[in-house]
Amino acid sequence: MAVNLKINNMDVTVPEGTTILEAARSINVDIPTLCYLKEINEIGSCRMCVVEIKGARALQASCVYPVAEGMEVFTNTKAVRDSRKVTLELILSNHDRKCLTCVRNQNCELQKMSTDLGVDDIRFLGENPYYDVDNLSPSIVRDPNKCILCRRCVSVCKNVQTVSVIDAVERGINTIVGSPFGVSLSETPCVNCGQCIVVCPVGALREKDDTDRVWEAIADPAKHVIVQTAPAVRIALGEEFGMPIGTRVTGKMVSALKLMGFDGVFDTDTAADFTIMEEGTEFLQRLEKGGKLPLITSCSPGWVKFCEHNFPDFLDNLSSAKSPHEMFGAITKSYYAEKQGIDPASIYVVSVMPCTAKKFEAAREELSGTGYPDVDAVITTRELGRMIKQSGIEFTKLEDGQFDTPFGAASGAGVIFGATGGVMEAALRTVADILTGQDLQAIDYEAVRGIEGIKEATLEIAGKKVRVAVASGLGNARKLLESIRSGEKEYEFIEIMGCPGGCVAGGGQPIVDAKTQMEINVRAARASAIYAEDKAMTFRKSHKNPIVSKIYQEYLGEPCGHLSHKLLHTHYMQRANY
């Protein structure tokens, strides 16, 4: 039902159930918000978004106040402005206001609000106890001194990811957001997904910065430093330089990396093709020989750690294939080292990832099939953006560069790894060709595309029925696995990504503020850029990538063969909670 109301004397008609905030923004009336994050945190706690409603006694929080027929709302009265300013000054009075050295400088919702509301003085002297910064996790750094208690991180961790390792603790002036008993995140079942970082309006949560380690390696003449970039980085990096969401900057990214001084600039997409060869073969073997099904993908390290903590009974379902960037590292420190005559000990592999959990993954001891860690450093899309700025490179003006050989050519299948459903589709493209013995032309598996949390399809491949499911976001993964545990559902093949929407919306991606998130569906915009990259590729199936066939012939032998197993596969372990 439609509801008619007036906002600042302007008529507006919106569906029933709309909030005042949404109604106002629909007619371009801006109301400042801080705790509100569409669909994730709608708790009305910060009171930055207050408005006057004719007939109401007090100012009301517009982000949670539903519209009503005939309502008259004023968003810009003196009372409203004064109230917001006092609220903001109170928040700022016990905020650690060191913007110049803050990771969110110029990309901070609090800082922007302070400018927008014209705060030029803080009239209150806050009590400022100092809290230790938690930097023991390999992925996530928490600085409670910058926390404004908006609880967006708590909501995303609890309701979206169902991991729930942070919550508001203590009361009153002593309230902070933290882990139970004040332990470090690294001692909790935190899966390092970084979703808390991308929802945080301020600099209270950030990735563990590894850029210094990378700069040091580049400066070390004894090291052969190579870099690889994940599919989802190239469609988001531009945002760090003010480009629109969904802009493809593959060529500029490659040029920038070359200018920064890497000895080789490679594409993780090529490695994703190897992952498909291994995982696809594993699937066929399990399907034909009656192995453990469903096979579940294992390239999302947030999901893998979640499984180790919460679903140990599914560890045998996980594909033993390493994630693409780890495969890349292993192949580089074996095949590439041999071919190029470089001592693998001197090779330093840097992964640029949309993901904070990859930092934890790279530190897993079992991921060192060559005797060296597969990957030496992982930086996120955001960290790469910072390094490019530090280099004085004018990113938007760069010409397009080309990835180096041999790991520069990839198939479209490798590209779509970046979106939810992509790994499944990539695998199906290869598995279907093998099962039918044909070069199939219908390879767009629309049923597994799209940003829904759980997708299902039943496919007929060479007379075999293959039931597949795709889940992204760990709350959805939990739901899916519980339905299998209870016997309600059965599948042969499942893809799970830890972040809602897949890697395009990973915890290492550029941060989009709450207001923009109301206007643009970030996941969908980035995903469509991924599928555009796929369409533009010469080869769109992993097994058609000539590099892949070449390296199997020359070096690896068969997928899932002896050497592949040593270099390209791994194992998992049950992990205790706390």
Partner: protein
């Protein structure tokens, strides 16, 4: 941010059984967290991480949420009571007669903070609201013993009795 509690957990199998029974009774009720935590505190006297973990696993409520509840409500404590539990009244009558100084003296003498327990488990210290003994102000109790009309110089003598 460090884990404050340094006293080793000494829960018995009987206590655990009792708690499991409580959890089983409440398991499928909405809003079970607070009543179960009350029972747990009755059984153990306090709510250390070990007990909170049992409640978390038993009720399938994340530990972070349990801990949030425990630290939000003042009736819950994560600190054990010492063999001697000292409670100093900070009600108005006692306070104006100097119970603040008394508490400070005890803190320095025993090295125990308000709301915590000494590392050897012997003493714990609590600041209470009015206990209704205003005629005796300022007043403190050590377990069942009541001491009233105190002056600062009484404190060492009282503590000596329990330190022996």
């Amino acid at each position: 941010m460090a884990v404050k509690n340094t006293i080793p957990f000494r829960g018995t199998p009987q206590q655990e059984q009792e708690l499991q029974d409580v959890i089983a009774r409440y398991k499928d009720c909405a809003g079970a967290t607070i009543p179960v935590l009350h029972e747990a505190q009755r059984i153990y006297g306090y709510l250390p991480i070990e007990v909170q973990k049992m409640v978390s696993e038993g009720l399938n409520v994340p530990l972070a949420e349990i801990y949030g509840v425990v630290t939000f409500y003042t009736q819950f404590t994560t600190e054990p009571k010492g063999a001697y539990h000292i409670a100093v009244c900070l009600g108005t009558a006692c306070y104006v007669k100097g119970s603040g100084d008394i508490i400070d003296r005890i803190k320095t003498r025993l090295g125990v903070d308000v709301g915590s327990c000494s590392n050897d488990g012997k003493f714990s210290l609590e600041a209470t609201r009015c206990i209704g003994a205003c005629g005796l102000a300022p007043v403190l109790t050590v377990n069942e013993d009541v001491y009233g009309r105190l002056v600062l110089d009484d404190i060492d003598g009282i503590l000596d009795k329990y330190l022996k």
